[in-house]
């Protein structure tokens, strides 16, 4: 049994105390003396030319201090994109300007046109109604394939077309892939849509800008997953504020799921305006506003093909995807359908030849960027649906076809044909575990029972792999990233032995304050309650890249391990001095430094006190104090994997699908806090099942968002979901980080959509609907009914 508070223990979360008592401090809870409020007037048309904006009536409204439009931002930069993709022809992507406020044209419903600043939020909203915007509506660009047709209306007049890039990967393999298809014994083809989603963390975005004229200091409080990234992007590229004059604080943040990674226009606008009006400026998004201003996720249209030989071995894979960028390039948008998607197309299989083509397209819709899983759910969904379809076409068990083609444990490290090298894994083991925990053997009996009630039961399976712990900086630099992807930590040991750990990884639900403390407590052997984890404020944490891509423990945790090791090394020197022993003989165990083979020891607090009260201290060779900083840059991605199984019942009269059970067998490598890991998987499963059955971002033919509120966008609710069976006992530790951890934040959302849809197809095919080989997500009752009766 691991010690409570140490590695491997389901230690209860310390952050819960404030959240359960209403004492959390979220950005909207911050109110600064003298604060005024901003409201953004947003475009209500998808595409239009702004002929003029008449502010006169609005400016005369009660409480209005200032109304800003694009002209006020003429001297500042646009919202930058953080990743430049080079396409298959060697051309860099087309990168349109993204002004803080719409300049000349509006390009999606929700594009901000004017910023109204007033004494109260209500006054700002009232005044927005009096702003007169003269817009000539233009034909909206919505369908991705039509957007690329010759002569199509352009989203950006100054670009040559609506094509952002045409990416081929690996371009050199294309001919060999095509040749393998030409001689395949069987080819399975699938065309599908990966539905557009809205992340919808429960806390809407908020930004509060403040400026102190006496020191020229700006402060931005914002709902961000990565305050340092915001400081860098906004300071250096938009507003021209040097880092030492800009502090970005992300306090308690109510969920992110990717949507709070990006630098948004509103952050720059409130920071800029705070100086202009000489008062702190606060903006709080409404939920309806979030639907048309938070970056969306997914939105791929794909054709994928699998070639097999006459013994059912996978010989080649070919995929062709249109990826929606929306109207502008959000911070990491270009990397999602490319480097976070194409590199995962091998899945868990030893397919020798793979070619991926992705055309990224501008449309008059909200920008699309990473959403929980980011590229990997899109890769997993198409691959795992395709493999399932192939098995059904060939008349073999989908489990057996997967097993036959799995990369086997003796093949690691495994170089895939799509650039990445998997360090470790055991896919047969996770598959075995899944079949066990989902009671696969009992399925037929359960199906027969469902049939007695007139219900169609099906079982669907999916096996996923993901690349997490993003990422080696030199590698991503070659791939077009305009940032490094290391992480940082400062471990500050105080004189009495308590510790403050300053981390660049932000926590917005992940429980870092608990699990990171467990890591340090385990390493030093002291009580976790002596350790505080500090994050979210650029003024006291070292430059960190933030939380996304399931990277916090694998990358941020590794930085903490590195810094703690430096602390331990120095503490051993101090202990050696105090004990008059050789440093090599000092052992640290349970918070005590002992001379090996003797009963001489000094405890942790004795060493820390000596470090800060260095009366008896080797001052000639060692600095006083005990504080260390480390940066950790990973040498590879990590590769969590797992097998997911879903059992559904379909009501043949209505087409309604009910998820009866869901089992997940994951290999996350080593586990620090099993309770937190299980919670992460459960939450991911809900989002993946939501994508599969409920959620959809629907635009009408005019580019109006039909699913623009919680009244219309079907978020998973408590009564839509079953209890989950989650197992993480299959462990192949990551080989290249000190904790042997892989990351668990996104797995649930990656592996579950294909398992759900495979289960629905299984139910229908078993019931004799052999012609139903695919239903696009969300698999709504109407779609199921139409498929059955079509």
């Amino acid at each position: 049994m691991p010690k409570d508070g140490g590695i491997g223990a389901s230690t209860k979360r310390r952050e819960d105390m404030r959240f359960l008592t209403g004492k959390g401090r979220y950005t909207d809870d911050i109110n600064i003396r003298g604060q005024v409020h901003a409201h953004f007037l947003r475009s209500d048309v998808a595409h239009g030319r702004i002929n003029g904006i008449d502010l006169s009536a609005a400016e005369a409204m009660p409480g209005v201090l200032r109304i800003l439009t694009a002209a006020d931002f003429a001297a500042v930069g646009g919202i930058p994109c953080g990743w430049q993709v080079t396409d298959r022809h060697g051309q860099v992507m087309q990168e349109p300007k993204h002004p803080v406020l719409a300049d000349g044209k509006v390009r999606h419903v929700g594009d901000p046109i004017a910023m109204i600043i007033a004494e109260t939020y209500e006054q700002a909203r009232d005044a927005a109604e009096a702003v007169l915007v003269d817009i000539t509506e233009l034909t909206p660009v919505l369908d991705m394939k039509a957007a690329l047709a010759e002569g199509a209306v352009k989203v950006h007049d100054d670009l040559t077309s609506n094509l952002c890039y045409d990416w081929g990967f690996v371009e050199e393999n294309k001919a060999a892939v095509d040749a393998a298809f030409a001689k395949a014994a069987h080819v399975t083809t699938l065309e599908l849509v990966n539905n557009r989603l809205v992340a919808n963390p429960m806390e809407p975005r908020v930004a509060v800008g403040d400026f102190e004229s006496h020191s020229d200091q700006y402060t931005l409080y914002t709902t961000s997953q990565n305050p340092h990234v915001i400081r860098l992007l906004m300071g250096a590229f938009v507003l021209g504020i040097p880092e030492h004059k800009l502090r970005v604080v992300a306090p308690d943040v109510g969920g992110g799921f990717g949507s709070k990674i990006y630098h948004y226009a509103e952050e720059a606008a409130v920071t800029f305006a705070a100086r202009l009006v000489g008062r702190p400026v606060k903006w709080t998004s409404s939920r309806s506003e979030a639907f048309i201003s938070d970056a969306h996720g997914r939105d791929h249209v794909t054709k994928i093909e699998l070639a097999l030989d006459d013994e059912n071995n996978f010989t080649a894979l070919r995929t062709d995807t249109y990826a929606n960028m929306g109207a502008y390039l959000s911070t990491f948008a270009p990397s999602i359908p490319t480097w976070l998607h194409g590199t995962l197309m091998a899945g868990n299989y030893k397919t020798p030849l793979i070619y991926v083509n992705v055309k990224a397209v501008f449309t008059n819709t909200v920008p699309v960027d990473a959403y929980r899983g980011a590229g990997r759910p899109e890769a997993t969904f198409q691959l795992e649906r395709l493999v399932d379809k192939a098995a059904r076409e060939l008349g073999v068990d989908p489990v057996d076809l997967r097993r036959q083609n799995f990369i086997t444990p003796d093949m690691f490290p495994y170089q895939t044909p799509v650039a990445v090298v998997y360090d470790t894994g055991n896919y047969q083991a996770t598959m075995d575990k899944l079949l066990e925990i989902s009671d696969h053997a009992g399925f037929e009996a359960r199906r027969a029972e469902s049939a007695t009630r007139g219900k169609l039961r099906g079982f669907g399976i999916a096996h996923y792999i993901e690349a997490c712990g993003i990422a080696p900086s030199n590698l991503v630099g070659q791939l077009g990233a305009r940032a490094g992807l290391y992480e940082s930590a400062t471990v500050r040991v105080n004189a009495t032995g308590s510790i403050s750990v300053y981390t660049g990884s932000h926590s917005h639900g992940q429980g870092h304050e608990t699990s990171f403390a467990q890591v340090v407590a385990e390493m030093i052997g002291i009580d976790a309650n002596q350790i505080d984890i500090v994050h979210g404020d650029t003024s006291n944490t070292p430059m960190g890249m933030g939380t996304y891509g399931s990277r916090s423990l694998a990358v941020g945790g590794s930085a903490i391990v590195k810094a703690t090791n430096k602390i331990i090394n120095k503490a051993k020197k101090i202990a050696a001095h105090l004990l008059e022993a050789s440093e090599a003989d000092i052992e640290l165990k349970d918070g005590k430094f002992a001379v090996a083979g003797t009963d001489k020891s000094v405890d942790w607090a004795g060493v820390t006190l000596a470090a800060y009260v260095p009366h008896n201290y080797p001052l000639e060779s060692l600095e006083p104090g005990l504080e260390e900083t480390a940066f950790y840059d990973p040498s590879n991605f990590t590769y969590p994997s797992g097998a997911y199984g879903c059992e559904v019942e379909v009501d043949p009269d209505t087409g309604k699908v009910q998820v009866l059970s869901f089992a997940a067998a994951d290999d996350f490598g080593n586990i620090v806090n099993p309770m937190i890991v299980e919670g992460q998987v459960q939450g991911g499963l809900a989002q993946g099942i939501g994508q599969a059955l409920l959620e959809n971002c629907a635009y009408d033919g005019n580019g109006q968002l039909l699913s623009g509120s919680f009244m219309d966008y079907a978020m998973p609710r408590a009564d839509d979901l079953p209890m989950f069976t989650v197992d993480h006992s299959c462990i192949t530790p990551c080989t290249h980080n000190p904790l042997g951890v892989k990351g668990c934040g996104e797995a649930g959302a990656i592996g579950s959509p294909p398992a759900v849809v495979n289960a629905v197809i299984d139910a229908l095919q078993r019931a004799g609907h052999a012609h139903v080989t695919h239903i696009d997500m969300p698999v709504t009752p109407a779609r199921v009914w139409a498929a059955m009766n079509g």
Partner: protein, 163 residues
């Protein structure tokens, strides 16, 4: 502006309000009680749920002036008198029924209202009752478990692999 007086967590409070001021804004902006959260604008998410005269009410769905004189209870009034967590709050911590914490105040208030009405709910009843409270982090698994545990029921077999 009209002065509105009510009792919040046992204390008489008053603040000036406009006719359009929602109870949620009255609590957050008028009284500075930021434990009650606002997660949507269509009364769908339940993050703002409080008790008004003992009943669960989404505080964004009533005007402050409508509940003048009422007894209101918010998340800030849920802990025991000595500051320790109440049974429901403790169950949420014990069963990891929260992650980012944003939906948590409404979820706890909703769960408390459920258990007041139905002290031993089934899993189905818990899920049905909490249908008006959205959580994006937990997948509800541990929330349901926490509510069942707070009602004194054994939850050790829930969501565990079949033997």
């Amino acid at each position: 502006m009209t002065k509105v007086t009510m009792t919040v967590n046992g204390k008489t409070v008053s603040a000036d309000t406009e006719g359009r001021t929602l109870l949620s804004s009255f609590l957050r902006d008028g009284l500075g009680m930021t434990g009650t959260h606002i997660g949507c604008d269509t009364s769908q998410c339940g993050a703002c749920l409080v008790h008004v005269d003992g009943k669960a009410v989404k505080s964004c769905s009533v005007f402050a002036q409508e509940v003048a004189g009422a007894q209101v209870r918010t998340i800030e009034g849920m802990a025991n008198a000595d500051g320790s967590l109440s049974v429901i709050q403790q169950a949420f911590q014990d069963h990891h029924g929260l992650q980012c914490g944003f939906c948590t105040p409404g979820m706890v208030m909703s769960a408390a209202a459920l258990l007041a009405e139905n002290p031993k709910p089934t899993e189905h009843e818990v899920r049905h009752y909490l249908e008006g409270n959205l959580c994006r982090c937990t997948g509800y698994h541990n929330i349901v478990k926490a509510v069942l545990a707070a009602s004194g029921q054994d939850v050790s077999g829930l969501g565990v692999a079949a033997e």
